[in-house]
Symmetry: C2
Subunit: 112 residues, 2 copies
């Protein structure tokens, strides 16, 4: 089992991942975008509890980590859509495992 | 694929997980403890960059979420050890996936 090794190199790549995904919002935003491209207001509605200011900051950070793309469409007025990248989609298994664990955690700690 | 569904209930359990694991330290501490019970100073040495104050706060939080256990041994002077619980060990797959993704992310964004 990987987690029994406790090796410093593994620790480093886990740290890389946690730093790129820090906070409770980024993965939720990516999860919302995994269903398809969305506009700012749509994301803000789906990710319950996030403020516009935080969402704006998180979107910029996700873009700089190549996890999403911001696209400006030449409409009148111009519209902006956010799309998950392939690199962002590669987080799917992380999100899946968090989902399963979250269910178990609710039973174990919160749901009692 | 789970993440394409974008359903609010899945979002909730992901949020539960992210709230229990918030910040960049908790999973690293659990990873260190997955190799066996450890004392405060050992954990602090292995989790590079954490301050004693933060470690102390995170250990309390992990304990309240039933992810670790604090055990006081009747030695002279008394010694304290932290052990990962079964519920904490159930995060193994999350940690594994984060490890794999962290490796890919370093190549994609940091390592270039």
């Amino acid at each position: 089992m990987l987690t029994r090794e406790g090796c410093p190199k593994t620790m480093l790549s886990i740290k890389d991942a946690l730093e790129a995904l820090e906070g409770k919002w980024k993965l939720l935003i990516l999860f919302a975008l995994s269903a398809g491209p969305k506009r700012f207001k749509q994301i803000s509605k789906e990710v319950n509890g996030i403020t516009d200011r935080t969402l704006s900051r998180e979107l910029k950070n996700l873009e700089s980590n190549k996890l999403i793309k911001r696209e400006v469409h030449d409409t009148f007025p111009p519209t902006v859509e956010y799309t998950i990248t392939e690199h962002g989609m590669s987080l799917e298994r992380v999100i899946d495992e968090l989902h399963f664990w979250g269910l178990a955690h609710r039973k174990e700690v919160i749901g009692k």
